[in-house]
């Protein structure tokens, strides 16, 4: 019961000598997007854990996010991250015309802004520790810190990757490999902005409200 009519055997094509093979760039991008979705699941699980550990009893009479979150400080981090993502996007638009300098400017700006984000985040964590809020304080604090820092770790490795790409493009220009990697990095970087919206709204802001 085939849904397709089989061709006439005497005229059927059995071997395809003109098959050019798969499109390397789009195969790579698709696989990388699948990886990013699995990364999204990682965050979803972390959010599930955070949800369970964000009740008032999870903080064990210690400080809650209402005590230690500063919304406008974190909003500055948001600005830095979103600008970094925008800069990267601008860099990718420069690639459309083969503009190497435009791409490099975008990458450098994205890198610097990302470093600013990380710097703000590290300062925030050290400030928390100084006020006696570490992962050892309570379940709620553990969840808060681990979730936000897993995101920060992603940013860290992304920044490393940006550096590597700057070196590769400087040395090799726009080859199939380097362009493919730039596309993957674009998806990765833009996903970080999306994840950050969740983190910012549902961890920082909502925590502050409770």
């Amino acid at each position: 019961m085939s849904a397709h009519d089989s061709p006439d055997p005497s005229k059927a094509v059995l071997w395809d000598t003109h098959y050019h093979g798969h499109d390397v760039i789009s195969t790579r991008s698709f696989g990388y997007f699948l990886y990013l979705l699995s990364d999204g699941m990682l965050f979803a699980t972390l959010f599930a854990a955070y949800g369970v550990l964000s009740y008032s009893h999870s903080y064990f009479n210690g400080q809650t996010p209402a005590d230690f979150v500063h919304p406008w400080y974190t909003f500055t981090q948001t600005v830095a991250l979103f600008l970094s993502v925008l800069a990267y996007g601008m860099g990718m638009s420069a690639v459309k015309k083969g503009n190497k300098a435009g791409l490099m400017n975008g990458l450098i700006a994205a890198f610097v802004l990302g470093v600013i984000f990380l710097g703000l985040d590290i300062h925030d964590m050290m400030d928390l520790a100084a006020h006696g809020v570490t992962v050892q304080t309570s379940g709620g604090a553990s969840a808060f810190i681990v979730l936000t820092q897993v995101h920060a770790a992603h940013i860290f490795f992304g920044l490393l990757w940006i550096l590597v790409m700057m070196a590769q493009v400087a040395a090799k220009g726009f080859t199939t490999d380097t362009v493919g990697r730039l596309l993957s990095l674009r998806m990765f970087w833009h996903l970080q902005a999306i994840i950050w919206v969740f983190v910012f709204v549902f961890v920082y802001l909502w925590g502050y409200m409770s």
């Binding site: 055997p9 094509v13 000598t17 699980t45 854990a49 369970v52 064990f60 379940g139």
Partner: protein, 713 residues
């Protein structure tokens, strides 16, 4: 920030110390000696026959999906053996330590294993069997078969494929080394809070467990990405979605499950690691932690995982049944739909692993109904297989026997699963051996499917068939063992035996335990039969050589390649014209048609980077376990550096010219003629006895004797 660990720590060696090596343990010390002797022999033989170069060039640095698949399967079989030994140890301990009068040796009050050691044995048994035996075996088959079935030359990411294998091998190395350096976890294969916390498991066992699981999860996720991308992006021209072979569909649905669920495992374990290394309070009993959270997060992965392992097994059965019933698979579209229905619903059932933990009747009811829903598509599959066989021309090869056995096991396991889905029953038998018997029945479905697939596809990969007599002997012994071990276990579950008992207090159960022990002995015989099978098959390999269509009634695209499959798979990419392409071509008499024209093809290069990174992940896992921080940092940096170096160098690959291809193809066709020269090939009709010469049948030469007949030793 880091916790103080009991038992001392120093900056150079972390928690490593000479007393972590169990040289006084009466079981492990002799085992270690045996392992060392075995290793010396193997390494010595390789050196003596000057095979290191061959090994490096052909196997350790390969990116060829077939070789990687074979290595996965070898890894899986070795670990299946180790897991079996662990199972043997469990059974023996339980039958020995039965009742207060039972004797004790080796420091145990009853039996021969102390409770602490017994805990490690059953934890290792579970972990190894599911993640380091069944999963690599299935992944190995998917690796070998799927690219061939879609008409591709390799997977979408050959280098990533190799990386996945070596990371899995690193996980295997980590759990194996836990035998001799330190302990393994004793918290069961899936772990419980708070026993895995540092306070209650101060040793390194749980850390080994965490990092072994994390590494396997990483390897499987990478493999999942690879398979999905291959199936979506690399199908041959004409291979539309509904012409895809059913095993490929099964692999697709299974790997979608893998991709979506393994991150939950990684998080669950990572949070345990945070508790143990950083002193966080995710799963502690106090300070705002939540014990049930661990169980929840783990089983969010855990349930989809079991469907990840069973769907490829179903796919394998769906390939074997049609081939040996000489009929197309009944209800192809419903089979595909059922696979995806199972994958989808499997995401909604995970709480049935902890009905008793207190979520309440509303939540329990939801998950119970969802669990029962999964039975419907599974039932569809069972009926489809039955209807495939109905009015087919059935040949009871050993592979077919394994598949039919799997079907019976599925009925038993599936029905008991439906029983367990009902919370009222579940509350009675939760954590009893009834549950163990249920899931072993299901896992045996997978094992049966794997053995059937080994027999079915071995001729394609290696060019000769396995000995039928010994394969059937192994089947019957294995099935007898299964019945003897697990039927009493269902009964004992109802009678109240809980799982994981190192001392079984009720002597009324003794006859059942003895029966189970006899069953294990029968399993040992079947393992012996397996080794005899290998020996006999390799000895008779020239006699049992096969051509392209090894069984004469195979149906899907992979059977179009030569046997053994050349490293480039298809010389020219095939154009697909129908579902069950080979069957269609054979029916129209064109299955022997070869390409008239060859073109240059592009192949990836071998690379040592994958195995170096794999080795480094082992070092990283080991260093994390023993908290040797400088080594952690060093290996992590080394891994990143290697990744950057590899990325920098890239892989331009190499070209095989059309002329070289033509030469290799001609040689392959000559070999094919030698093998099948005495069997006339009529296009579609099955020649009595001719097209299915196996079982050592003496086929009289119907035409001129083969030009180079006889043995070529």
């Amino acid at each position: 920030m880091l916790v103080q660990v009991p038992g001392g720590w120093n900056p150079l060696l972390g928690r490593l110390a000479i007393d972590q090596i169990p040289y006084t343990n009466p079981i492990l010390a002799p085992l270690f000696v045996a392992v060392v002797i075995g290793a010396v022999i193997i390494l010595g033989l390789i050196t003596y026959y000057h095979k290191w170069g061959y090994l490096w060039k052909e196997w350790l640095t390969t990116v060829d999906h077939k070789k990687l698949g074979v290595m996965y399967i070898i890894l899986g079989l070795v670990m299946l053996f180790r897991g079996f030994i662990d199972g043997l140890m469990i059974r023996t301990q339980q039958v020995w330590a039965n009742g207060p009068q039972s004797s004790g040796v080796f420091g145990a009050v009853h039996g021969y294993l102390t409770p602490f050691h017994f805990g490690q044995v059953y934890s290792a048994h579970g972990l190894i069997m599911i993640l380091l035996a069944a999963t690599p075996l299935l992944v190995g088959f998917m690796n070998i078969i799927v690219p061939l079935q879609v008409g591709a030359r390799d997977m979408a990411y050959p280098y990533l494929n190799a990386l996945g294998l070596w990371i899995t091998a690193a996980a295997v190395a980590l759990i194996m080394i836990s035998l001799f350096v330190g302990d393994f976890a004793h918290n069961g294969w899936f772990g419980y809070a708070p026993i895995f916390e540092l306070q209650y498991s101060p040793g390194v066992g749980v850390d080994y467990w965490i990092w072994t699981l994390e590494l396997t999860a990483l390897g499987t996720t990478l493999g999942g990405i690879n398979l999905i991308a291959t199936i979506v992006k690399m199908r041959a021209p004409g291979m539309t979605w509904f012409r895809l072979p059913i095993f490929t569909w099964a692999s697709l649905s299974a790997n979608i499950i893998a991709l979506t669920s393994f991150p939950a495992l990684q998080v669950a374990l990572f949070l345990v690691a945070c508790d143990r290394y950083l002193g966080s309070h995710f799963f502690t009993a106090g300070f705002g932690g939540n014990l049930m959270l661990y169980t929840n997060l783990f089983w969010i992965w855990g349930h989809p995982e079991v469907y990840f392992v069973i769907l490829p097994a179903f796919g394998m059965m769906s390939e074997i049944f049609p081939a040996f019933s000489e009929k197309p698979l009944f209800g192809y579209i419903t089979m595909v739909a059922a696979s995806f229905a199972i994958a989808g619903v499997s995401w909604l059932v995970w709480l049935h692993h902890f009905f008793t933990m207190g979520a309440g009747p509303d939540v329990n009811s939801f998950f119970s109904v969802a669990t029962m829903l999964v039975g419907i598509p599974t039932g569809v599959k069972v009926f489809n297989w039955a209807f495939t066989m109905y009015r087919g021309r059935i040949t009871y090869t050993a592979a077919m026997l394994w598949a039919i056995g799997a079907l019976f096991l599925l009925l038993v396991g599936g029905l008991t699963g439906m029983m367990l889905a009902i919370p009222a029953i579940n509350y009675m038998v939760h954590n009893s051996v009834f549950v163990i018997a249920h899931f072993h029945s299901m896992l045996l479905v997978i094992v049966y499917a794997i053995f059937g697939s080994v027999l079915f596809w071995f001729p394609k990969v290696f060019g000769f068939k396995l000995d039928e007599f010994w394969a059937k002997t192994m089947f019957w012994l294995f099935s007898a063992g299964s019945v003897l071990v697990f039927v009493p276990m269902y009964m004992l579950g109802f009678m109240g035996q809980t799982r994981r008992l190192d001392y079984v207090f009720n002597t009324a159960w003794h006859p059942y335990l003895v029966t189970e022990e006899i069953g294990i002995a029968v399993y040992c015989l079947s393992v012996a039969a397996f080794f005899v099978l290998l020996y006999v098959s390799i000895r008779d390999r020239v006699k049992n050589r096969v051509g392209q269509d090894a069984w004469g009634t195979s149906r899907s695209l992979e059977w179009l390649t030569h046997s053994p499959v050349p490293f480039y798979n298809f010389a020219v990419t095939p154009h697909v014209n129908a579902r069950d392409e080979l069957a269609w071509r054979r029916h129209n008499g064109i299955n022997e048609a070869q390409p008239t024209q060859y073109v240059d093809i592009h192949m990836p290069n071998n690379t040592g980077v994958a195995i170096y990174i794999g080795a480094l992940t082992f070092v990283l896992g080991f260093a994390l376990t023993w908290r040797v921080w400088w080594l952690c940092l060093l290996s992590l940096v080394a891994i990143i550096v290697l990744m950057i170096v590899r990325s920098w160098r890239g892989d331009p690959g190499y070209i095989i010219t059309a002329a070289e291809l033509e030469k290799m193809e001609r040689e392959a066709m000559q070999r094919q003629q030698q093998v099948e020269g005495h069997l006339p090939h009529h296009g579609g009709q099955a020649v009595p006895g001719g097209a299915m010469a196996y079982e050592g049948q003496k086929v009289s030469p119907l035409g001129t004797p083969p030009s180079s007949g006889g043995d070529h030793h």
